[in-house]
Symmetry: C2
Subunit: 389 residues, 2 copies
């Protein structure tokens, strides 16, 4: 199996991009990544695209060749494949791109993630978010994605004494980081009292505990590590790329406060890379809801089960923390264009590992972790990225 | 790169399966394939699922973990990934499963394709078919998928003198083969006069020139060739798996009667396998519309451009022909559950190469080709399968 490296990164601003089409943002990020990788499109072998819901949103399935076309590459007849796994679509696309290069059948590929969620009413975007939960066993009975995560929050509070204030510390941190990220959807800081006083979505989660629906795209160029020095001064090796799944419906899990898919994907990833959670300096994790960040930190192995609320509130995961969590602002503040999230997480890790994260830089970061989650945890993808010296 | 073999196959009946759910048919085919591969689910490493439109059809995205769950495998937390590329979704999933095993990260995987199209009105299924064409440049102006293929047909007739009767020979052959396939949606024979006299869909294409919307699922088990003898007496090696893409919109192509994606994917596949079209005894090709079969035969290299109509009508591609085309009955008669088609094509090739195709068996078949197409040819996937002695 060949070693695979990230050679280039690209990202659009996340937010309400009403003046720009899905096609435009998809190619902008891809071309940025190609330029960053000093790669001519003549050397490109294929495109793997993460996207959750273009079928429902713009009546367009089969969008991978469309993005290729708009990037001016249709004439080269490259392979172009769309991957979908709810909110984890982006990281799943990265997994497929990784396999493509690792196998040796492909040399250089672009992995992109793109979604356009603000051209439709929020209710439509909400229905699409819900379509990553179990339609027959959850959604038809009125359960929404935030309501399902609220159940997890209630049970976490019940089992472990996690407080409402500890939950609220998650978005406060996210907005602090978002204020330092020029690509972020939200760049305003929020205070704990604002989070606690915001209108309820599904109690205990309020408006500021829930990530927004965003437009945005992100892309990376992957290639064989052995060729990486031709393309970048700081090759970033993919030390592990692991996927694990679980029941789609939350009620079918043994214990709703444990994301078994995250536990398993993280264990496999750390085993494969021969590293432990202690070795990670920067982590981009799933904070679509305040509670999802807390259980993720536990299930990734950064804190014991039940302790994430207290540790988060103590500031352990702030800038320079162990690890620094969501320096990008996370899904909460950087934004949440479903299929782009997992790729954007890796873009942020690469910035950190290259030392290009400016006033949110974690000094000396050499190992980063990205965790991308679909639904209430039916899919988790974990990537470990490592700076090669 | 490891050699990859097909170790097991499974398929449901194709047709109007109103008494069975998407979940049921998905797992039935997968479990059949596992049993056929003499594989315990404990040895399974992951699932790659081709599906085009569960989001639009049943409000359910994120279906790969759902199928895993209903197969009783959620407790093992295996990776499970959905791939979408219009009508080529199934073969794209096979490509991803192939890369997974070839890379060495996965040993044994199930590749499945499933679609449930007859629970919604035909108009809805038609809209979904159209969503594989270009929404902004074709569909909003009223173009449907059959109308776009009808343009290709008209131009083929104009440029090469292809006749209406030659087009009609395609479904006559498909139904003859379907009559021999117990899984086929349509098992009735049709006469040339019936095809010519059927009501128009988009002239020159009539109702009998267009494949139906079907429910159905198909699955294969892939594993390393070196382990294949433990699982089957007749390992079938994947000699090539190649994807190529083109513009989504037909009008953006240089010449609409040439599927460049098919030309390129086939050339790469034959190069990689060091074989030529003459070496192929059995081929499953894209006969969703009579014209798509003709241009496919040309672009795969089986006949010179412009000659497919005459050669098809002469019977060259019948049972025992060179090659035998669509012994399964093809999309026209076996049926067209979008995401399942590409996997079902490979299931049929494996039956042929094993010598298990009963009264549609091509004697001594050792090399088979499958061509799966999305939209009007924006995606083509070509697989070459070879019997290992």
């Amino acid at each position: 199996m060949r070693d695979v490296a990230v050679l280039g990164i690209g990202q659009t601003k996340f937010g309400e991009l009403w003046d720009r089409s899905f096609r435009e943002i998809g190619i902008e990020s891809g071309l940025q990544a190609l330029v960053d990788a000093r790669l001519s499109s003549a050397d490109l072998g294929g495109l793997f695209l993460g996207n959750m819901a273009s079928g429902s949103l713009i009546g367009q399935e089969h969008i991978a060749p469309l993005i290729l076309d708009y990037a001016g590459l249709a004439g080269r007849h490259l392979p172009s494949v769309r991957i979908e796994g709810g909110g984890a679509s982006g990281a799943l696309a990265l997994h497929q791109g990784y396999l493509a290069v690792a196998s040796g059948l492909y040399d250089y590929v672009v992995v992109g993630g793109a979604e356009k969620l603000t051209d439709v009413p929020d209710t439509t975007a909400g229905e699409i978010a819900n379509s990553s939960a179990d339609h027959e066993w959850e959604v038809v009975f009125g359960a929404t994605l935030p309501a399902l995560w609220a159940l997890v929050a209630r049970r976490h509070m019940h089992l472990f004494g996690t407080s409402r204030e500890e939950l609220a510390a998650v978005p406060v941190h996210a907005h602090e980081m978002g204020s330092r990220n020029p690509n972020a959807h939200y760049r305003n800081r929020v205070r704990l009292e604002q989070v606690l006083g915001a209108g309820p979505v599904a109690e205990p989660l309020g408006v500021l505990d829930c990530a927004p629906f965003s437009d945005g795209a992100a892309a990376v160029v992957l290639g064989p590590l052995e060729e990486a020095r031709r393309h970048t001064d700081t090759p970033i090796r993919i030390a592990a790329s692991q996927v694990a799944c679980d029941t789609l419906a939350l009620q079918h899990r043994k214990e709703p406060t444990t994301l078994e898919s995250t536990v398993v994907a993280a264990r496999h990833a750390f085993d494969r890379a021969r590293r432990t959670p202690k070795d990670v300096q920067v982590a981009e994790i799933h904070d679509a809801y305040s509670i999802s960040a807390l259980v993720s930190l536990e299930d990734l192995g950064f804190v014991p089960k039940g302790r994430a609320g207290a540790e988060f509130a103590s500031g352990r995961f702030g800038l320079g923390g162990s690890p620094t969590v969501n320096s990008s602002g996370g899904l909460k503040a950087q934004g949440r264009p479903f299929g782009a999230v997992g790729v954007a997480q890796v873009v942020e890790l690469v910035r950190q590992l290259r030392g290009e994260a400016q006033d949110r830089q974690v000094s000396g970061a050499t190992l980063g972790l990205a965790q991308d989650v679909g639904g209430t945890g039916a899919t988790t993808v974990v990537h470990l990225l490592e700076r090669v010296n």
